[in-house]
Symmetry: C2
Subunit: 205 residues, 2 copies
């Protein structure tokens, strides 16, 4: 019996190259979960095979800018001429259905969400050491040394933002990290500030 019926917004972030996407996929591969992805809204053109509402919500620039004005994004950013954002109403809909909405985003976006939605759960994914991150970036094999060094410098700055998160999870092994995140979700549902309201209703009956 869950005292807190509403889903959680689970923000998974961390320094560039830590393996956020891999951990997020491992999380969704676990059995018996109520996780859903947060679908982003974008102004970039639809690509072949992409489905509205599944891959993205596609809107024109005017609509996107109006939504920014109306504070309808939990976070947004511009990237090579296109806008990307997390629509607040879509997230709320899923939370109301009891789904845990997973948002896997860069540190900057996560800090925007922090300001918009205090009750979300913020998880900072970290490598088991700086060297491990460097190795991971090198082993991707897709980037020049110059690019790797640039990413490492970016990560250095992001490392320092860990204290702004609720949890720090080490990505030493992808399934361990996913297990820990699942434990965090279960535990957060039982936190007093999320349960006390329904608890009081329950004992009043």
């Amino acid at each position: 019996m869950k005292l807190n019926q509403r889903g959680l917004l689970v923000v998974i972030s961390g320094p560039s190259g830590v393996g956020k996407g891999t951990v997020r996929r491992a999380l969704f591969n676990m059995p018996n979960h109520d996780l859903v992805y947060s679908v982003s809204m974008t102004t970039r053109p639809v690509r072949e095979g992409e489905i509205e509402g599944v891959d993205y919500y596609f809107v024109d620039k005017e609509t996107f800018l109006r939504r920014i004005q109306e504070n309808k994004f939990l976070e947004w950013a511009e990237f090579v001429g296109h806008y990307y954002g997390t629509p607040r109403d879509k997230v709320d809909e899923q939370l109301d259905l009891g789904k845990e909405v997973v948002l896997e985003i860069e540190v900057e976006g996560a800090l925007q969400v922090r300001k918009q939605m205090k009750e979300a759960v913020f998880i900072f994914l970290v490598p088991p050491g700086k060297l491990a991150l460097y190795d991971r970036l090198k082993n991707r094999g897709t980037e020049s040394m110059n690019m790797i060094n640039k990413r490492m410098r970016k990560a250095e700055g992001e490392f320092l933002l860990a204290h702004k998160y609720d949890y720090i999870v080490v990505n030493d092994e992808v399934n361990n990290a996913a297990d820990r995140i699942m434990a965090i979700i279960r535990a957060e549902h039982a936190r007093t500030e999320r349960t006390i309201h329904n608890y009081i209703k329950m004992i009043g009956e």
Copy 2:
């Protein structure tokens, strides 16, 4: 990889009759845990078969009272002429070894521990409704209606103290409750305030 190496003091409490002992036993029956019991100190005489340091630490009244003065208990109480308490040094020893020390105590004792040890994890175990608690007390079959009513009145008062705890866990089914507590322990180890110190050391290396 655990960033927080120190064990947690896990205080399991809740209204009279909720089934704290049963849940605690289910918890210890789970695989792969690092849980240990907190062994109490007492002035009551040793009973046949009881082992010093396993069942209790047995001391005389003078020693116990001196230890109260020296603030060496996380909580203590007098019960039918004998003293019982949780020795702080023994708990600390286990925490330093990385063990999770489980303290299953009455609400009053838990609130004493709260004052002594801010970093402990406080879990309030509740029945899935008042009626469930009443049924459980009746079904024990060992107590008179008078005693059952007395216990229910005590529980009524204790129900109201839930907000003083970090987590509220419903004991709808004993293994569910134990699972939730295990998730809470895992999650708490990852909380930023417990991990940031070692995290900063790690990224400095």
